[in-house]
């Protein structure tokens, strides 16, 4: 077994299919239909990571993560978000989530996120310390690219960023592509992670 993954999702089919996929990828899995169910039966063994939908009836994935942190039972958390939940996901990243994955996602991306979360282990993410390599990438951004990146990390859309700085959305797209390349980010989630590691404190 490559590691333990706790799956929390209110949708039966999604939960069951995640179970199948991660089992097939060689992980041990435990499934829960709600955040409350997970909190009611906390994992006995140390290690493992939590994979949770961010939007659920009752307690959300973000709230679950915060509740775990408050109990001192933090484990790395990967959140699954719907399209348009980016601001919430960014908020989750700032509060210590390991990663977020936007639906629809491909399995490679999911497995990579889970793998990376397990590799980090139970220790707190080194959010306070600045990763020099990430900072180096950040330093290559132009002033405008930096503004666009801060907008993205702040959960703003291209259109909103365009309005913020009085430029066209098309121009923002170009800057955005440059930012992704320079920060070596494949996805918005990676960009957020790298930016946070580089010491960006978006608000």
């Amino acid at each position: 077994m490559r590691g333990l993954v706790y799956i929390v999702d209110d949708d039966d089919a999604v939960r069951d299919s995640l179970d199948l996929l991660l089992s097939a990828a060689g992980y041990e899995t435990h499934t829960f239909e709600s955040a409350d169910a997970f909190l009611a039966a906390p994992p006995k063994a140390a290690g493992g990571c939590l994979l949770s939908d961010i939007r659920m009836p009752g307690m959300s994935g973000l709230e679950l993560m915060v509740a775990l942190q408050e109990r001192g039972a933090s484990c790395p958390v990967v959140l699954i978000t719907g399209h348009g939940d980016v601001p919430m996901a960014v908020e989750a990243m700032k509060r210590g989530a390991h990663d977020f994955i936007e639906k629809p996602f491909d399995d490679e991306r999911l497995v990579a996120a889970v793998c990376s979360a397990l590799a980090r282990g139970a220790g707190p993410r080194e959010a306070a310390t600045v990763d020099p390599e990430a900072a180096e990438r950040l330093a290559t951004l132009s002033r405008r690219e930096r503004q666009v990146m801060e907008g993205l990390v702040g959960g703003r859309s291209n259109k909103e960023i365009a309005r913020d700085y009085g430029i066209s959305p098309r121009t923002v797209e170009v800057y955005r592509a440059n930012v992704m390349t320079k920060m070596r980010a494949e996805s918005l989630a990676e960009l957020v992670q790298t930016a946070l590691r580089a010491g960006v404190t978006a608000n």
Binding site: D11, A13, V14, D16, S17, L18, L20, L21, L22, S23, A24, A25, I80, G82, H83, G84, K103, P104, F105, D106, D107, K159, E160, R163
Partner: protein, 495 residues
């Protein structure tokens, strides 16, 4: 003599008779026959012979002589007379008016004279009264907002009121004597002579007494809608038509504005409904799609290590690609329908509420809903997207009105209060049946509705809008019946 003066004169003649009567005198004997009014004036009983008309009148000597001379002259073939005669000092009346002339027989000889006698003071008083009435009527017509134009049987303008001057830009002097067709739009202009001729021939009424909306043309050539009603009168045997005209330009304008607002709202509602449906659909479809994708990629991983499954694995990989493709289509759909960017400004809540009420109450005035505002004037400036918040208010107002459909008491109250620092709470309260428990639980779910023709997106959209503004929305039943919907919005300070 214009039409009005003629009417006045004939009216005065009628009044003279009312103040007196007619007389006929035999030229040979002086014996008189008097009408009832004239007998009253001279104090003669009905049937009592009047051998000498002049002697019966209470005239002073000079006037008596004048009257006898005038009658004698007329009897001798002289002119008609019209005299104002003085009565004896202290008598009643003080003066009489005697008019008349010879009535020649067929053979040309004069055997009789005839005329009218009346109380001159009474006549003058009645004439004054008539003049006052005419002046009063004239002043009403001059100050009336509706224009009045009188034409004769062939369409020539006889009278043109002050309001008509304002309406058409012609002065009365310019309009009088010209054909009324110049005030009409092309279509009516060509047909009007035909209408008049047809009416003269058949007396079949088409517009008279009914009224209709026609197009008027001003002096400057511009056209405008007006409501025309027509009355007809006969004055001295002349047929006259009076047109009363009400300018509809302003009414049309406000009607258009209301229509435009309704269209705008309907459009936004549809767009929002589409956006909401897009979001809801995206979410609803993404869930099964995600599951399908996971099952497929999971299966592929399971098969990957088993020899001889190469084709199946390849097919599953293609299936996984198609799942992602479907997901991207949904994403684009969602982006497309939610394209309208939210534009927030500092707005006045009172103004928003007023506009939303105007829109929300369109077409429901006959339901007699009492709408009451209890807005906190201290906290009026909110930082919102005007159209979106108006839509929320319209939604809540409409729901409230629908909820009171069968209620006897129909009261809607829109109130606001400071909920906490920088946060305003707005409440829309109705006096309807209230919310059933099962409805309460699902109120804000997309596609949940209790209305026969409802789409079930109104409250879902409203809450979405409020949440996007950083507020929240809730519902509760009132202690004294009905329901209250509350939502919070940021005050200006957050701008």
């Amino acid at each position: 003599m214009d039409r009005q003066e003629r009417a006045q004169a004939s009216s005065v003649a009628t009044q003279s008779l009312a103040a007196g009567g007619a007389w006929i005198v035999d030229a040979a004997t002086g014996a008189a026959r008097l009408s009832a009014g004239a007998r009253r004036l001279v104090g003669a009983e009905a049937g009592e012979p009047v051998p000498d008309l002049i002697a019966c009148l209470p005239l002073d000597e000079a006037s008596q002589a004048e009257a006898r001379a005038a009658i004698a002259a007329a009897a001798a073939g002289g002119a008609d007379f019209d005299l104002t005669l003085h009565c004896i000092e202290g008598g009643e009346p003080a003066a009489l008016r005697l008019s008349g002339g010879a009535v020649p027989d067929e053979d040309g000889t004069t055997r009789r004279l005839a005329g009218v006698i009346c109380d001159a003071d009474e006549e003058a008083r009645l004439a004054e009264e008539v003049a006052a009435r005419v002046a009063h009527l004239r002043s009403i017509l001059e100050t009336a907002q509706d224009g009045m134009v009188v034409i004769d049987a062939v369409g020539v303008v006889q009278s043109f009121s002050r309001a008509a001057e304002r309406m058409f830009g012609y002065t009365a002097a310019e309009a009088m004597g010209r054909n009324v067709k110049m005030l009409m739009g092309e279509a009516d202009r060509a047909r009007h002579d035909g209408h008049l001729a047809r009416y003269a021939a058949t007396r079949e009424r088409h517009i008279i007494g009914v009224g209709r909306i026609v197009t008027g043309m001003r002096k400057d050539g511009s056209q405008f809608p007006l409501h025309l009603s027509i009355g007809e009168t006969d004055v001295d045997g002349r047929r006259l038509f009076t047109g009363f005209m009400h300018d509809l330009t302003e009414e049309r304008r406000s009607e258009n504005r209301t229509q435009q607002l309704q269209t705008e709202l309907a459009h936004i509602s549809r767009l929002s409904a589409l956006g909401e449906m897009g979001s809801a659909l995206a979410h609803e479809l993404n869930q099964p799609l995600a599951a399908i994708g996971n099952y497929i990629t999971g299966s592929r991983r399971l098969l990957a290590d088993i020899p001889g499954t190469g084709r199946a694995v390849a097919a599953l990989e293609k299936a996984a690609e198609q799942v992602l493709r479907a997901g991207n289509i949904i994403r684009r759909l969602r982006d497309f329908v939610s394209r309208r960017a939210s534009e927030r400004r500092v707005e006045s809540l009172a103004k928003l509420v007023e506009e939303a009420s105007a829109l929300g109450l369109v077409g429901v005035r006959e339901k007699r809903v009492a709408l009451q505002y209890k807005l906190d004037p201290e906290h009026d400036a909110i930082f919102v997207d005007r159209i979106q918040i108006e839509q929320v208010l319209v939604n809540l107002l409409r729901n409230g009105i629908d909820a009171m459909e069968t209620a006897t008491r129909r009261e809607l109250v829109i109130s606001s209060r400071l909920a906490s620092k920088g946060v305003l709470e707005i409440a829309v309260s109705d006096s309807g049946a209230g919310l059933a428990p099962q409805a309460m639980a699902r109120l804000f779910e997309p596609f949940y509705t209790t209305k026969a023709a409802g789409l079930g997106v109104g409250l879902s959209i409203s809450r979405g809008i409020v949440e996007a503004h950083g507020g929240d929305m809730s519902a509760e039943n009132n202690a004294d019946g009905g329901a209250t919907f509350r939502f919070t919005l940021p005050l200006r300070s957050q701008a």
